[in-house]
Symmetry: C2
Subunit: 328 residues, 2 copies
């Protein structure tokens, strides 16, 4: 049944039943003009959208995956500050021609990942729109003012990343021929694209260990590191033979996927060299040093090969208004 | 120049210059993965979108007005809880074919109203999208847990509204013939539609005066009062000869505009009769008693004419997925 036949209020009613009960701090949840909760000393907030035909195509992701990914990309931003995600507000812009069960699946995807991560859904909004747009605002808490920022890098800090790079970018590049690949390979690539990791614990641990500069890799390593460079008025060197490629799929990925692919949602951070061994021991995921911050060339990223030779940049990162994937 | 020619980062840079500096409580504003601010004991949050072709047509509103209205509709929700709006996160879904100056105007509209109301813009997001969607999440503060809710109405409470009803609905109904009307009439109708009032002070005063039930009139008096009825497990009577129509334009408006028109963004509240004289004296706007809460017919709205005769409902309120104005 189409949602235009069901109507807004029946849809709202169904979605509010799918959504898990909020946590104890929530005094008023969904269903009033605004939500009310007991606040914390330091609040964090971020917002991000997934737009059909831009961030994904409906043959790439199930509605459930669109729902869960819309939360995870925001969780990644809170994690990159060293915070804990707490409250989500979700705006769904839906075509009246969407099937009721598709919106249910979208809601289930959102609800499931929020439940798993202890996030209370406290607000939302439904609008009709020719294009599916899922907008999430995520509000979190920080322990104190010492969060991870783009301006916290220092000269001679090492540049490191959690996990692996280039998987989601590789998936997008290989998509048209992916059925030729082994099931396991396909699954690793697709999983990274459809269901990015939530590095909440890692962000907290980095912050507690004294790290001060981080960003999540959403637009590609080069572009996101350049934000740290600009924020910290420094340059950075990336050693491209150090890029962490997933061992099971590395033969299918290129340095370009890791440098520019984007949607990795790993944490990119900088830290003094002496901090790195403790971090490697403490964090529950692979950590790879990929470069270092330098005083020269503020705002610039220098790519070096294994022999220390400078390489030209291959391309720039994602631009929402000039991207070739864009269906205008 | 089109925004696809300018690119995302130049646009972000320009928008961040348009936006006023945030308040002192903001430790990290726009430009990092998430914003950070000193929290409050009780936090409120709401989210709402304006979608081109659904909530407005581009010949109805200037880009500046779309920007300011996107904030005001959210302010109205925080005001209806008795709270103070503090922090906004704004997601713009923009067509790459939009002109750079149009996005600048949108940003100026957003910034101006936020500055005027003491709201700090702390986050945002740009996406390309075939349709213009402006989504705002507004975070506010409440003094304590005693906020205005939909469940706070009691039997025999009077039902009252701030200001006038039916202006925006009347504007939409009369739009095609509006150029035949006197300039002053046109201006009153259009202003109500394009630039709704922010009833922040009124919401605070209602809350401080002991009022416990309120909602903002976004979907029409009947529909929004029915939310209070459902939340409070009561029925309500509306006396249609009491509907507050603006004295200068009342001859152009119908009871139907006031009952079902929507987008009034006035505060609809219930209060014991003995509280009403003090409220009328204290609030800086017209207050009109339009009915009362009753124990019978829970969830139902009964319309009475001047002689006490029951009238049939003329139509239901706004449904986003079945509205005739919708351009699917």
């Amino acid at each position: 049944m189409k949602i235009r036949e069901v109507g807004e209020f029946a849809l709202l009613d169904r979605l509010s039943r799918i959504i898990a009960l909020p946590g104890d701090e929530v005094i008023i949840g969904i269903g009033d003009d605004a939500a009310l909760w007991k606040g914390s000393s330091f609040a964090l907030a971020t917002t991000d959208s997934l737009v059909a035909g831009v961030h994904f195509f409906m043959d790439d992701l199930s509605f459930r995956e669109v729902g869960s990914k819309s939360i995870l990309v925001n969780v990644s931003d809170i994690a990159a500050m060293g915070g804990i995600p707490k409250y989500a507000l979700i705006s769904l812009s839906l075509s009246p021609e969407m099937e009721f069960c598709e919106v249910e699946e979208l809601g289930e995807g959102i609800s499931k990942v929020c439940s798993a991560l202890g996030i209370s859904i406290v607000g939302g909004n439904l609008s009709s729109c020719p294009t599916l747009v899922v907008n999430v605002t995520l509000i979190g808490e920080a322990k104190d003012e010492k969060v991870l920022t783009r301006r916290g890098a220092r000269v001679s800090d090492l540049v490191a990343v959690t996990g692996y790079l280039g998987l989601a970018g590789g998936y997008r590049r290989l998509k048209s021929e992916i059925h030729n690949l082994d099931l396991r390979i396909r699954s690793i690539l697709r999983q990274a694209f459809a269901c990015p990791k939530a590095r909440i614990l890692e962000g907290r641990m980095l912050c507690e260990s004294g790290v001060r500069a981080a960003i999540d890799v959403s637009d590609g390593l080069v572009q996101d590191l350049s934000h740290i460079c600009e924020g910290s008025h420094l340059g950075a060197i990336i050693m491209i033979d150090r890029l962490p490629l997933h061992p099971e799929v590395c033969e299918f990925l290129t340095a370009e996927d890791a440098l520019y692919g984007g949607e990795d949602y790993e944490l990119l951070f900088t830290a003094p060299p002496q901090l790195m061994p403790a971090l490697e021991q403490r964090l529950p995921c692979p950590l790879t040093v990929v470069g270092r911050m330098v005083e020269d060339h503020p705002g610039e990223i220098i790519l070096l090969d294994g022999k220390g030779n400078r390489l030209p940049h291959l391309r720039s990162g994602w631009d929402h208004f000039a991207h070739p994937n864009l269906k205008p």
